[in-house]
């Protein structure tokens, strides 16, 4: 599981690549939270290169978004491929974390 961090203006951007399964989350979760929560910036997460999402990945996204929300900032995800989108929709994660189709749409959501 790989992670890259950058800033797009005032918005933090995280790119994840690999499998968000038990082992992938174990590798990336601490780094993911540390890249997002302490800074308290509005954040977009690029899932374009995430090939697999299981419940541990959903837990990581919820707990990080919740911690960021307590700092008054928003998080949106974008770029989910069809099999990842099926899990997002099946768990209704998109009821509590905005899901966009593009980076620009995700940035508009968190800065709107």
């Amino acid at each position: 599981m790989e992670m890259q961090l950058s800033d797009v203006g005032a918005v933090r951007k995280i790119v994840l690549a690999g499998r968000l399964d038990t082992i992938g989350v174990d590798h990336v979760e601490t780094k993911f939270g540390a890249a997002i929560v302490p800074g308290g910036k509005n954040t977009v997460v690029d899932l374009t290169e995430v090939s697999f999402l299981a419940s541990m990945g959903i837990r990581m996204l919820i707990s990080t978004t919740r911690a960021l929300s307590r700092k008054g900032a928003k998080l949106a995800i974008f770029g989910a491929m069809p099999q990842v989108m099926e899990v997002i929709e099946t768990t209704a994660l998109d009821d509590i974390i905005p899901v966009a189709t593009s980076e620009s749409e995700a940035i508009a959501i968190v800065t709107g």
């Binding site: 399964d21 038990t22 541990m56 837990r59 707990s63 929300s69 209704a92 994660l93």
Partner: protein, 165 residues
């Protein structure tokens, strides 16, 4: 190296074979079983014409059930194991898991409350909920010792999941 380290480092896969038209895996009590077993499932799927959506559902269901058993059903560092069978049926794939962990019937686990806000969202029970929602059928049996001579007559959980192919 201590015995404990040795168990942590052990392979997740004790056995992989194809018998009577079924893939049969035996997985060790280590989280490596999830990735080692998944690779065998992927190899099995690559020889068949399942589409990407079906393979993804099979992998998710495998991941959730195996990781749940190792995390909650087994005693840490024990010699317990999970037998996995994958077989084709008309229009379906049957994935069967047998383990000698504590009794666990996934059908009795209540559905998590629907999400209403990020602040109150519960994150427990999502894995079993995913298994139920992505499968076409789910059956549970608690096998008594007389049904499991191959496991030294220890009682076992048997979970059969049907996935639309």
């Amino acid at each position: 190296m201590s015995a404990e380290q040795n168990l942590e480092d052990m392979s997740g896969l004790r056995l992989s074979e194809f018998v009577d038209g079924k893939l049969h895996l035996v997985l060790n009590n280590t989280m490596r079983a999830v990735s080692d077993g998944r690779r065998e499932i992927q190899r099995h799927c690559a020889l068949r014409s399942y589409d990407a959506k079906v393979i993804n559902r099979l992998e998710i269901i495998f991941e959730e059930l195996v990781s749940n058993t190792i995390r909650h059903g087994f005693t840490a560092h024990s010699n317990q194991s999970i037998s996995v069978f994958a077989a084709d049926r008309p229009g379906l794939i049957a994935l069967t898991l047998e383990d000698d962990g504590v009794p666990f019937d996934p059908l009795t686990i209540p559905e998590p409350e629907p999400f209403t806000s990020i602040e109150t969202a519960r994150i427990g029970g999502l894995g079993i909920s995913l298994v139920r929602k992505l499968s076409a059928g789910l059956r549970y049996e608690r096998l008594t010792g007389s049904d499991t001579p191959q496991r030294g007559f220890r009682p076992c959980n048997r979970i059969e999941v049907l996935i639309a192919a």
